[in-house]
């Protein structure tokens, strides 16, 4: 592969802790077009460490777009300018020599900044803990093939289950809504026969927790779908709304 170099001006958000005020800091870098965006930050950090400066805190792990750990807002877009990839899959050949790049953390009320570009997304775990599962214990389950599921349904459920929990949907939404994330889990389990027994309770509990944690509501801009690295469709939000309404009708608790 032929290696070309780019000279770039980076404006990166630095913030020393959750309670402090952050600001953009300028860095000039030269980087290979073959490198990934995060490898560019690795190199920048290595240089900072050599000069006894604190490196930029950012999170990443698998670096192949599946663990959901990474997430930067690059030039205003969560996970950068390309559709359907996570930040770690963005490569520098997509930028131009001399370009200025703004790098920020995911911003949402429910995702407070921890340090620099790292944010706290533990709200997602809390939502799943209230009902994002089928309540079966280990052992004592029937043979897998006693439960035929049509290829179509399995495939649709998979599309929803592909969510990596990165939080780009929340960061992209002007309301900081988590409805795409919640909708994806609710849809996966509502489609499958295994999810039926707890279908109503699940959606009620997850939506209540989502509201309690300060995630906003959906106002149909579809920004979440546009930025989702796995291309999770906004139809999951429609499904969530429908499931929620049905569950409410069937609910024995009458609201005042």
């Amino acid at each position: 592969m032929d290696e070309k170099k780019l000279n770039l001006k980076l404006k990166i958000w630095r913030q020393s802790g959750p309670q402090t005020v952050g600001s953009f800091v300028n860095y000039n870098v030269t980087v290979s077009t073959e490198a990934s965006f995060l490898e560019m930050l690795d190199e920048l950090n290595n240089g900072l460490e050599k000069n006894n400066q604190d490196p930029i805190v950012f999170e990443s792990d698998c670096r192949e777009g599946i663990c959901g750990t990474c997430g930067l807002v690059i030039n205003g877009e969560p996970h950068g300018p390309l559709p359907k990839i996570a930040t770690c899959q963005l490569h520098m050949r997509n930028f131009k020599d001399g370009q200025t790049i703004w790098v920020e953390p995911f911003r949402a009320r429910a995702f407070p900044v921890i340090k620099d570009l790292a944010v706290d997304r533990s709200g997602f775990d809390k939502i799943i803990q209230t009902g994002g599962y089928v309540s079966v214990n280990t052992g004592g389950v029937p043979d897998a093939n006693t439960l035929p599921i049509s290829k179509e349904i399995a495939s649709e459920a998979f599309d929803s289950a592909a969510c990596i929990g990165c939080g780009a949907c929340v960061a992209a939404c002007k309301n900081g809504s988590a409805m795409l994330f919640v909708g994806a889990k609710v849809t996966q389990l509502a489609l499958l026969p295994q999810g039926q027994p707890e279908r109503n309770d699940r959606v009620m509990a997850m939506v209540a927790k989502m509201d309690e944690l300060g995630f906003g509501t959906c106002s149909n801009t579809y920004a979440c779908e546009a930025e989702c690295p796995k291309g999770i469709s906004v139809r999951n939000i429609a499904m969530l709304n429908q499931e929620y309404r049905l569950a409410k009708i069937k609910s024995k608790n009458v609201e005042a």
């Binding site: 290595n46 340090k115 599962y133 309540s135 897998a144 295994q194």
Partner: protein, 645 residues
């Protein structure tokens, strides 16, 4: 080497394999094990470190039984564990395809694939529970691939002639992990499991000879925290990142098992390292990791290189007659689905001959024939996410141009030594998944890691840990115990020592140097001279690290440089042990290829008379280990030279 003491007849390694015929060992053992009364279970605290397939499934299952579980992860969420990145699938001997599969066949394939360097009884149990795993995952709502009739679909993987791999597109690990994570989340909600995110285990506490707790660093605040328990379970994965460049995630590391090793847990077969044949080739110096392309691609892709050295024509201009489909040529019955060690070594061979793509380190994985045979749409359906991933990283379209691939460090068969109950040489310390050494011998077959992680977590540890708890008397231990205090002081001292060196070399620079040493001399091919050299080179690099590393930042803060520094300090010791183990093993087996020991055709030449043992290393002090040997007995399978021809 002067620093090896060998204990020939070993009293410390009791594998505790149950009596009786292999088909009934596990059943009998389950009956013979003592149970903890249901109302007493909540009186027992169990620590589980790691939330991958093994850790999450163990924590969830133990929580369901009623134990008080504390689960630890260095991630921000248990769902991030690196099991999530496994692509291809999970094996199970369901025989849904009616192609002759059985528990015994999966057992046989796994032992043979591991080149007869694993324990028969453990592997048989693994095959025996494999079907339960699929049932469990389906019950959780894992969306496995299905056929038109609604039943589960299978694909083939390397080292097997039956189709027994269950999959969820190219994201099987993700779906299985999210299943285990959902079970864990439910137990957290019920209050049976307490979750501690962003904690890195830095020490194991051993009191009166038994594991009684751990000491962790809170990665957000830097605080050193202490937790006590009646038993500790480590499910902290593998250490392929000792090579710096590997398919592992950035944060995967050896620290938890290494610190436990230094507290007395024997380390088994550290040199057994799997180099995966289908990864993307290196692009340059700034590269941070190597990306795996699932082995499942070899179901339809054909591997080839030009016949002529230095043939620099683009692939579409190299006619059929000038291509060498070397796997199909050398191993006609398994062809492109030959096991990983053999495929990797063959790729290295042709590239060393100068026949790699453009004379470099890459071979082609070509889908042109498969697209002609079954159509582009069918290929898309099977592999679209992998093809997209490839295109996004390399900028090339694999539907039109063959993929370029090269082997990369991927998985570690070695790990902490465990007995049949998955307990290490420290009573009360259990080790699951990739972190132990138990089931894969000298080479793991594709789609078997997910199987082993979930077998250990869902179906083995819930039984065996109960037996340990029921048969031991426990004194009360609080975190005020002097062992905890001593450990806390040591860790604080270690951190201060790292921060106060203030040298000129960064942590990554030293890690990259170590990685190169390991890749060149403890990688796909090893020899005595190189191994002897590398042992002293690693030892010098370790000195350089402790004299000249620069760890910036503070102890009491989120400090990623400090996190990496601690892990690299451990790799610098572990790397030496890997080389020492490879040097001790004067034979070739599975992934361990010693150039001195090969057949005329260049295949691995085992020495069953002298090396049919598990090498279990006891830590003495820095750079010094004692070797213990567990002899492997093969009662059910006939020791044979592996042949995939």
């Amino acid at each position: 080497m002067g620093n090896v003491n060998t204990t020939s007849k070993d009293v410390k390694l009791d594998s505790k394999i149950p009596e009786g015929p292999i088909e009934s060992k596990w059943t009998n053992h389950k009956f013979n094990m003592k149970l903890v009364n249901p109302s007493n279970k909540r009186k027992y605290d169990i620590i589980v470190v790691g939330t991958g397939l093994a850790g999450a499934s163990a924590a969830a299952s133990l929580g369901e039984l009623g134990f008080k579980v504390k689960s630890f992860s260095f991630h921000d969420s248990p769902r991030r564990a690196h099991s999530i990145a496994a692509q291809g699938g999970i094996n199970a001997s369901k025989n849904y395809q009616n192609d002759g599969d059985s528990t015994f066949r999966l057992f046989y394939d796994t032992i043979k694939g591991g080149d007869f360097r694993s324990r028969e009884a453990n592997v048989y149990r693994l095959a025996e529970v494999s079907g339960n795993i699929i049932d469990q995952c389906v019950a959780q709502g894992v969306p496995f691939a299905r056929e038109y009739g609604g039943l589960l679909d299978n694909r083939s993987f390397g080292g097997a002639q039956v189709s027994r791999t269950f999959y969820a597109r190219g994201q099987t690990g993700q779906q299985l992990l999210l299943g285990a994570y959902s079970a864990l989340s439910r137990q957290i909600n019920l209050g049976h499991v307490e979750m501690f995110n962003r904690r890195e285990m830095l020490d194991l506490i051993v009191i009166d000879g038994a594991a009684r707790g751990i000491v962790v660093r809170n990665l957000l605040t830097g605080a050193i925290e202490k937790y006590s328990a009646h038993a500790v379970v480590l499910a902290t994965g593998g250490y392929a990142n000792v090579f710096f460049l590997s398919t592992n995630a950035m944060n995967s590391n050896a620290t938890a098992i290494w610190r436990a090793h230094k507290k007395g847990a024997f380390f088994a077969n550290p040199c057994y390292t799997q180099i995966h044949p289908t990864c993307l080739p290196l692009h340059g110096d700034s590269q941070s990791k190597l990306t795996l392309m699932s082995e499942s691609l070899r179901n339809d892709g054909r591997v080839w290189v030009p016949k002529q050295k230095g043939d620099k024509r683009p692939p579409d201009q190299i006619p059929e007659g000038d291509r060498d489909y070397y796997l199909e040529r050398k191993y006609p019955s398994y062809g492109n689905l030959s096991p990983r060690d053999i495929s990797s070594r063959s790729a290295k061979e042709v590239c060393d001959e100068g026949r790699g793509v453009n004379g470099g380190e890459a071979v082609y994985l070509d889908f042109a024939d498969a697209i002609k045979r079954i159509g582009k749409k069918a290929i898309e359906e099977k592999y679209s996410n992998l093809f997209d991933m490839y295109q996004n990283i390399t900028g090339e379209n694999p539907y039109e141009v063959p993929m370029k691939i090269y082997p990369a460090p991927h998985y570690i068969m070695g790990g902490l030594w465990v007995d049949y109950n998955l307990m290490s040489t420290i009573p009360g310390l259990f080790v699951l998944g990739e972190a132990n050494f138990s089931d894969h011998g000298a080479n793991r077959l594709g789609a078997s890691a997910l199987m082993q992680g979930l077998a250990d977590g869902y179906f083995v540890i819930p039984y065996t840990i109960g037996d340990y708890l029921a048969t031991h008397k426990f004194g009360a231990v609080s975190t005020d115990h002097q062992e905890f205090k001593k450990s806390e002081e040591e860790i604080k001292g270690f951190v201060q020592r790292l921060l106060s060196i203030k040298g000129k070399t960064t942590v990554d620079e030293i890690h990259k140097k170590l990685g190169k040493l390991m890749w060149n001399k403890v990688g796909m091919a090893r020899n005595e001279k190189g191994l002897k050299e590398v042992i002293s080179e690693i030892s010098s690099l370790r000195e350089e690290f402790w004299k000249d590393v620069n760890v910036v930042g503070k102890a009491e803060d989120l400090n990623q440089t400090l996190e990496r520094a601690g892990r690299v300090a451990d790799y610098l010791e572990l790397g030496e042990l890997m080389a020492l183990d490879a040097l001790d093993r004067n034979e070739s087996c599975g992934c361990h290829f010693r150039e001195e020991y090969q057949t005329e055709e260049g295949e691995a030449k085992r020495d069953d008379d002298n090396y049919r043992y598990v090498a279990a290393w006891e830590f003495a002090n820095a750079g010094k280990w004692n070797l213990h040997k567990e002899q492997l007995e093969f009662e059910y399978l006939h020791l044979a030279q592996r042949s995939y021809k």
